[in-house]
Amino acid sequence: MKAVLFAVAALLAVCIPISAKQCNVNPVNIPKGWITMQQSCRGSMRRQIQTEVGASLQYLAMGAHFSRDGINRPGFAKLFFDAASEEREHAMKLIDYLLMRGELETDVTSLIQIRAPERKSWESGVDALEHALKMETEVTKSIRSVIIACESDPKFNDYHLVDYLTGEFLEEQYKGQRDLAGKASTLKKMLDRHSSLGEFLFDKKLLGMDI
């Protein structure tokens, strides 16, 4: 009898911790009818997030370049480091939007890849501003392609996302582009006859310093 009890006790001792050691809560079923985003729209949004991340890394490389001792343009460096953080924030805003719409339940890990930025050096401040303007133009173009993918799905015109992208993102893009174009133009005019002094002064202006 004792042996049987011991065997039962031993069995329980072995079994209970195994069956009890569950470290997570089982997933639950929630109705999915509210999740309305379509495949092509979702795909283009995901690519857009990677585009914004890529732009953030390219801006970091610009910031790094203008921080160099031999280049010494802290104002440009600040402008580009700030732009890098802004691009990262754009990526986060797009992610938050996807989450609001019931997305990113799976395939989250593959959303972002980190690659070293393509370009590492710039001839001058104007060169970098014009490159930045070109980059922003590309980003604007790709946001437009997301809009097209999301409004032209035959099953579902995603009005709300299209409105969000048009109202918030395109607005910011156009303002940003105008700002970069204005800066490039002012700087280029200053360089006309006084190239190194012009860039020096403009750099301090970017730093918020009055000379």
Binding site: C23, N24, L60, S67, A84, R88, L99, E105, V108, I114
Partner: protein
Amino acid sequence: MKMFAFLFGCMLASGAFAADTCYQDVSMDCGQASNSLALPRCNAVFGNYGRHGNVATEMQAYANLHLERSYEYLLSASYYNNYQTNRAGFSKLFRKLSDEAWEKSIELIKHITKRGDTMDFARRSTQEEKTDKNYTVELHELESLAKALDTQKELAERAFYIHREATRNSPHTHDPEIAQYLEEEFVEKQADTIRNLAGHTADLKKFILANNGQDLSLALYLFDEYLQKVV
């Protein structure tokens, strides 16, 4: 005579650096007939930074590691904010880790250029273990805390490694500036973060074991509410 010997000694001792002067470049080139003014030695490099040892390359790799971790933590924060996981506290915790790593990568880039070097975004550390191809952010609560604890320890131990390389007793690699930068800006804060994450895993461990696991689902809910307050 003694005075002369002393001066001569000083000149010998500092010879390695004294030969390397910006001033010589300037006086050589200024007033010359040529139009060039290259001044190759007028730079921010001092104390052999980037010339000997691996401190400079490890600093580049350290910036890249922060960059990578920053975006990984951002993905974890996103995962915990989907409607299924719906753990706002865990999301907030990862978001904070992401923000901190992002800021640190920018600071590291600035520091690298402060020391007269350039940033190399492709640089990897010699200490880096093989990248995990099966890496995923889609983990349950305890797993994700475990992963965060491991990656934070990796960041801290990498700082220790660079510090060790910078403080080796050799005139070629000793770099007190890098050592104190790591001490002041990295290791102290890292110890706090590691301690907090270890504490979180200890709490979750107790909840999982307690009451034959009956507490778990409610415990995770409460713990997430707690994280929303303390992070």
